[in-house]
């Protein structure tokens, strides 16, 4: 039993970081906006890490799953608004729909693209979000280019006050919950046979195959899990926080790039990495845009290059290697 618990020690620093963030946001005047943004980046990193970090495959189409999740929530709200009896149940259905739709898309994409390796996989996925966006716009699916605005529907379902509390506070809390959940799933995978299989295939896919590991199966498991979380993040951060959805916004590739940066900064394949990466990325982005508006990217790029050169395995990756075998090392993986 004790061993069972010590297995989950590495969650402590992750959850402590989230708790501190939350407390700062709630107690310090004017900080919630920053905290909300940081939570979004941490959640994004945590979700993306399950795939990129654990398999070593780079998915450039990741944002598509967030976009589809956003649509899932939007569809639930706009189509079910007539059923007043459902109340909050509509939001629950929205989450469910977001999860199902993003997972289904990931199965479809994964079944084709995961047959490719390394750079070929990355190239194949670049087209996914663009393709999906043009499909929605061109075939006029879900209102096509007009998108959906559902502020009024959300007000009708929850009442004006609750809807506004949702978009300014509770949606961010939900993102926090999703991030915490993603961290738990990551550690659960790491500590199970799935994690060993994924580590092996990340190190050498051919060797993993020779060990009798069904590499395709485990790649797909990681892909679906990661994409499902992306769908949930989209449903919360994008659909509930800002009650509208436009294809060009939710299929914007720069979110994928941000996710990649966060994971690499913090340390791919580590548990704490995406949190640290999210914090470094979010804080620098926020303050650079305040103090040097317009120049943030110019300054940000060299910062990232310096960090990557100094810590090629990410900040947490470096920490993990330093602390290996020490008492602290048990908490940081």
């Amino acid at each position: 039993m004790k061993k069972q618990i010590t297995k989950y020690y590495p969650l402590i620093p992750v959850y402590a970081a989230y708790l501190i963030l939350f407390l700062i946001g709630v107690n310090v005047e004017g900080m919630w906006q920053l905290v909300a943004m940081l939570l979004f980046y941490c959640a994004l990193g945590q979700a993306f890490n399950i795939f990129l970090g654990m398999t070593g495959y780079v998915d450039f189409g990741y944002v598509a799953f967030m976009g589809v999740g956003t649509y899932g929530m939007a569809l639930a709200i706009t189509r079910l608004v007539g059923f007043q009896g459902l109340g909050l149940g509509i939001i629950v259905i929205g989450f469910f729909l977001a999860l199902v739709m993003s997972s289904l898309l990931s199965v479809a994409v994964g079944a084709v693209a995961l047959r490719l390796r390394g750079a070929y996989f990355a190239i194949a996925t670049i087209g996914v979000n663009e393709g999906f966006r043009f499909l929605i716009e061109g075939a006029k699916i879900w209102n096509g280019t007009e998108g959906m605005i559902f502020t009024a529907e959300l007000n009708r379902i929850l009442g004006r006050e609750a809807a506004s509390a949702l978009s300014t506070f509770w949606a961010d809390v939900m993102v926090l919950v999703i991030a915490a959940l993603a961290a738990f799933v990551t550690l659960f995978y790491m500590r199970s046979k799935i994690g060993y299989a994924l580590t092996a295939l990340r190190e050498d896919e051919d060797a993993a195959k020779v060990m009798g590991i069904n590499v395709t199966k485990f790649k797909i498991i990681a892909f679906i899990t990661s994409s499902g979380f992306a769908g949930l993040i989209g449903a919360t951060s994008w659909a509930l926080k800002t009650p509208y959805v436009f294809p060009p916004e939710v299929f914007e590739i720069h979110y994928t790039i941000e996710a990649i940066i966060i994971v690499l900064l913090g340390g791919a394949g580590t548990l704490l990495g995406p949190v640290i990466g999210g914090l470094i990325y979010g804080i620098s982005k926020y303050y650079l845009s305040i103090f040097m508006p317009g120049f943030q990217l110019l300054i940000f790029a060299p910062i990232i290059i310096v960090i990557i050169i100094m810590f090629p395995e990410g900040v947490v990756g470096m920490l993990k290697n330093r602390l290996k075998g020490t008492a602290l090392g048990r908490f940081i993986i």
Binding site: A200, A207, K209, V210, G212
Partner: protein, 235 residues
């Protein structure tokens, strides 16, 4: 134990195997010789399933396994030690070996397999906590063979195990292969460029060229035939 009948496969539209057939008898070392590009590695990969067969049959323990996926073949007791040092560089030697016992059937025997492996390769016991990527070339080759043994195979296919090793180490590798046959009771299918050493160790030899089996026989027969030696083996 293993029969290959008219196997065909290739990459894209390029056919590599043109219906070679061979048989590996239980408890023997069967060696596959031939020049570069003869299709030897492709033949092993097709038997193993990592390259998809286009036609023909692979029969293992009287069962048609042609279309069975790779991970199930490992479970059935077929191991492939791939060419080049395909190991997990950022894992320790012990962790590499443990990965070999990934499947349930192998995991049950993990401790005894470890003992066996350490007795065959005492060096690996000394180095068990070292990162595999930091080992010397010869030691890395030991790890890949040892990791193959950890899957608890009955048939072991080795793809150029002595590639890139110093002559002294080549001798060690062949000694190990003989031990695996005699002491562990494995059946071995071996690809080698090193024709001399291979003819020494093998019970039966197939000579492959351009995707076909061009000759076969006992090592003595192959050695006697000047034609075969000159045409395909260069010795």
């Amino acid at each position: 134990m293993l029969q290959v009948k008219d196997l065909e496969s290739g990459y894209g539209s390029m056919q590599v195997l043109w219906k070679p057939s061979l048989e590996v008898k239980r408890g023997t070392i069967t060696s596959l010789l031939g020049p570069n590009g003869a299709g030897k590695s492709t033949l092993l990969a097709t038997i193993f399933g990592s390259v998809e067969p286009w036609g023909g049959k692979v029969i293992y323990e009287d069962r048609d396994v042609t279309q069975i996926p790779t991970h199930k073949k490992v479970d059935m007791g077929i191991a492939l030690v791939p060419e080049g040092k395909h190991l997990f560089p950022n894992m320790s030697v012990y962790e590499n070996l443990s990965m070999g016992a990934y499947l349930k059937k192998a995991l049950v025997h993990k401790e005894e397999s470890l003992e066996l492996v350490y007795s065959l390769f005492p060096r690996l016991r000394e180095r068990r906590n070292q990162m595999a990527g930091s080992l010397s070339g010869g030691e890395q080759q030991m790890v890949t063979i040892a990791r193959g043994l950890m899957t608890k195979p009955k048939l072991m296919m080795l793809d150029e195990p002595s590639q890139g090793l110093a002559p002294k180490l080549v001798g060690e590798v062949f000694e190990t292969i003989l031990k695996m046959k005699e002491e562990v009771g494995l059946t071995i299918l071996l690809i080698e460029q090193n024709a001399d050493a291979s003819l020494e160790a093998a019970d039966y030899v197939y000579v492959m060229h351009e995707g076909l089996i061009k000759a076969q026989g006992t090592p003595a027969e192959i050695k006697q035939s000047a034609d075969i030696r000159e045409a395909y083996l260069g010795i």
